[in-house]
Symmetry: C2
Subunit: 240 residues, 2 copies
């Protein structure tokens, strides 16, 4: 989208694409190649990146012939370390492709929120891009956007200028963080969200718990829109 051309885009799809991408890279995957189509994914894994692993979902479920679905738990070091992952999901990889005009594209999840906020601290123009579900806002993505806004405000000497969406997301996160400080689990809120309920409906509740592990992987993945590859640019994998 042209409106992103002036700055850094941060792609957010908490349940589950960006959580899974962060997990795979933290587990030692060399790179993640996001793509929109299933056939494109197969071609990339068979021709361009020989020996790559195939991961992703349609309707939330693993695609026929793929090595992995879209559950973070599947991406363990023993299966993915030192491998390329070609990855396609319904909303997340489309959000990534929508950001191709941005100067820089970073990947955020609750697993790496502090690392991403730190990386953003000197950026002038930042767009937080929530993948949502089929074009609608989902609470889990907005909460993570709010967490990034709040951390950025805390890290910067001068308060950044926020638009109304960013202010609202920050408000929502501050309110949720208060409940978390009072002992309510973050996963509880993610489970209530549209994305959380969709996952429960297909038996993937445990992915919600995995997505709520705040700052367990302090890495910053960046999507290089020229090469089409996502690699770690700050922090390092458990393997490395």
């Amino acid at each position: 989208m042209d409106e992103l051309a002036d700055g850094t885009a941060v792609v957010i799809d908490v349940l589950r694409a960006t959580t899974t991408i962060v997990t795979a890279l933290a587990a030692g995957a060399t790179r993640v190649i996001p793509c929109v189509g299933v056939e494109e994914a197969r071609w990339l894994a068979h021709e361009r990146y020989r020996g790559a692993r195939l991961g992703g979902e349609r309707g939330g479920l693993t695609i026929e012939g793929f090595d992995f679905g879209n559950s973070p738990a599947e991406y363990m070091a023993e299966h993915i370390a030192a491998k390329t992952l070609v990855f396609t999901t319904t909303n997340g990889t489309q959000a990534l492709r929508h950001c191709e005009r941005a100067k820089e594209v970073l990947i955020a999840s609750f697993l790496n929120v502090a690392a991403v906020a730190q990386q953003l601290v000197d950026r002038q123009v930042i767009h937080l891009v929530c993948a949502g579900t089929d074009g609608t806002i989902t609470r889990e993505d907005v909460l993570l956007a709010g967490a990034l806004v709040v951390q950025l405000c805390e890290l910067r000497v001068k308060d950044p200028t926020l638009n109304d969406e960013a202010e609202l997301a920050a408000d929502a996160w501050r309110e949720t963080r208060r409940s978390v400080a009072d002992g309510q689990e973050l996963a509880y809120f993610l489970r209530q969200s549209r994305g959380g309920q969709n996952l429960a409906a297909i038996g993937h509740e445990t992915d919600v718990t995995a997505a709520a592990r705040v700052d367990c992987h302090p890495i910053v993945p960046r999507y290089d829109t020229v090469t089409g590859e996502i690699v770690i640019v700050a922090g390092h994998s458990v393997a490395g």
Copy 2:
């Protein structure tokens, strides 16, 4: 919009259309006739409702030949009591017309938030429709939507089922309400919003203060989509 056909739509345009409509009715206007076009407004005031007053804005400013702009302060009883008001604005009256398929359409502002929440208490399906500005979300509208959600949750014995947007709006309102309880004025938050900044740019800051007078007019205006008229259905004007 067909998605509204199953329930009650509550139209929200804090800065300023729904605030001004509530003010005009509270000051004794017999009815408000919202319309989208300026020529349509002139025809209605000159032909269909002879002697009606004309109010509204384009680009935030009073339309040539109209009696009033879109500032709540203009709608004083001495000018509007016992009169019909034909009213057209950029975003608010369009949001009203978008709700024409709903079973019932109510008009909300901070001036009558408790009265509207009370009116909604036994409704099964409720859509909170934020006018925004030119298709974008504005904070002041989402905060009022959140205030309605929070009050409804407090009034009902059984918690209503909320979608993600409603949950986020409620979070944002709870966070803002906390600052208001700590002594920050609600008008301060409305002034920071996209709508508030647009008003400041055209010298209408005082309208923001007027829009932040919570529960000063405990009336419920309803838009009858058959007759095209907005009248008070609960509470009464200062005149009546």
